[in-house]
């Protein structure tokens, strides 16, 4: 057993989840593959969305995977950083917009 929660080498073993439930595992990977195919959005655009979401989900495996995927597609580090800021802006916005709830509550409770 590993002494840490995350091991970079585990990313390569992602496919192993099918070993203990082939049907669901296979369905997931089929779905996953389809999602990232060229569609109304380009595969490049999807890669940048995935990178931003990887950060908001704070998934180190996903960050490794989609940083590398971006480099493979010729995506520049400037583009990647902007994508991360989009994720960060939504995250912080999501926190701050709840400030309105706080304000509503204060206004309701205060005389």
């Amino acid at each position: 057993m590993s002494k840490t929660y995350y091991d970079p080498a585990d990313l390569r073993k992602f496919g192993n989840i099918s070993d203990w439930n082939k049907e669901l595992g296979d369905s997931f990977f089929e779905y996953y593959g389809k999602v990232f195919e060229e569609g109304a959005l380009t595969a490049r655009e999807k890669s940048l969305i995935a990178l931003a979401v990887s950060h908001t989900e704070q998934c180190p495996y996903c960050i490794d995977a989609y940083t590398k995927d971006g480099l493979q597609r010729g995506i520049t580090k400037e583009e990647m950083m902007e994508a991360v800021h989009v994720g960060a802006a939504i995250k912080s916005g999501a926190t701050l917009v709840h400030g309105v709830q706080m304000m509503n509550k204060v206004n309701k409770l205060e005389m």
């Binding site: 595969a43 490049r44 590398k68 480099l71 493979q72 597609r73």
Partner: protein, 351 residues
């Protein structure tokens, strides 16, 4: 980035036996990853055999005006290995009788061989119609004596294949050296000016993309579209096709992989991306590689690992195509570089 070759730095990896040792040890010795031979046996593609010979790839010397970080030749200004006219004459004798239709000139910077132009002229007389010159572009701007290379290429209808790792200055210069991007752009504009890569022109200008780091190239078509758009929008440059080539784990790129602790992950990535369909068309099946000193190899990469052809005929002076074509191609773990994904060769994707 170092300005010297591994050889000049007395780097351990300048020794090809050391490279082969690394490629056979560790994850391949302990069975974590299958050797290339084992992998192609799964699909009954072992031993790998040549098909019809189409291309003679001649390395005119390891001297180069650039010292690229990933260079599998370990080329640079300090490399003095240059093909002599005597070896060129032996090549010309072979060109007269070969079944191959294409002469692919590489290096180093092939144009730096003092007899480069003479050799092209003589090969043309000997009947070669399809020339490829692997030009690093900056050579065209390196010295006045090279300024007219675009015109020379045009005269012999040379198909120019040039490296260009990215359409941005930062990524290009990081891989190939400071100032390379601007010089390359200027050289591409000059090639365009004489008709290279232009719509309706038969002068072919292709670009080679290889990743600037420990990752595999993405989809060749998508990269080509991005390159075309960016080079057109930013610099009004046109070109024909983009070849996305995987970096093979040898020489300077191997040194980088080990030093940056990316070697194992990179080998896993190559093996994961293994595509048996790509094995069918790897370049060693239709090419013979000839070194500056006349030795024969299955490909340029085997040349750099000093793995001469497995045949009684090992040197251009004894060339016999029939005997040579009846051989098993020498493989090792670096071959995974040509079979990853859509496959990779000097001519672009293969599957």
């Amino acid at each position: 980035m170092s300005k010297k070759s591994l050889l000049a730095r007395n780097n351990d990896l300048a020794n090809t036996e050391r490279q082969l040792e690394i490629l056979s040890n560790g994850i391949f010795a302990n069975g974590e990853l299958p050797t290339f031979a084992k992998k192609i046996k799964e699909t009954n593609q072992f031993p790998l055999r040549p098909k019809k010979l189409e291309i003679l790839q001649i390395n005119l010397g390891y001297m180069c005006n650039q010292v690229c970080a990933h260079c599998h030749v370990d080329a640079g200004p300090d490399r003095k290995e240059i093909m002599t006219t005597e070896t060129m004459k032996q090549c010309l004798e072979v060109i007269e009788k070969t079944g191959a239709h294409t002469l692919d000139l590489t290096g180093g910077a092939p144009e730096m061989n003092p007899n480069f132009r003479w050799f092209v002229e003589e090969a043309s007389k000997a009947g070669i119609k399809d020339f490829i010159v692997r030009s690093n572009l900056t050579i065209i701007r390196a010295n006045k004596k090279y300024y007219d290379l675009p015109e020379f290429f045009k005269k012999y209808n040379v198909h120019v294949v040039s490296s260009m790792p990215h359409w941005t200055r930062g990524k290009t210069d990081k891989q190939r050296g400071n100032g390379v991007f601007d010089k390359s752009i200027k050289a591409l504009q000059e090639l365009n000016a004489v008709g290279y890569g232009m719509p309706d022109s038969n002068l072919k200008l292709d670009l080679v993309y290889n990743p600037s780091g420990a990752y595999l190239p993405g989809d060749q078509m998508a990269l080509e579209q991005d390159f075309k758009k960016a080079l057109k929008d930013d610099f009004n440059i046109e070109f024909n096709s983009l070849f996305a080539i995987t970096n093979l784990p040898i020489s300077r790129f191997l040194d980088y992989l080990i030093a940056s602790e990316n070697y194992e992950d990179y080998m896993f990535a190559l093996v994961d991306a293994y595509n048996p369909a790509a094995v069918e068309n790897v370049m060693c099946t239709n090419t013979i590689s000839i070194s500056w000193d006349g030795w024969l190899y299955d490909c340029d990469f085997n040349q750099m690992l000093n793995l001469k052809v497995n045949s009684k005929i090992k040197h251009i002076s004894k060339y016999n195509e029939e005997v040579l074509q009846d051989r098993n191609i020498i493989i090792n773990q670096h071959c995974y570089g040509c079979t990853a994904g859509a496959g990779s060769s000097c001519q672009g994707v293969v599957a």
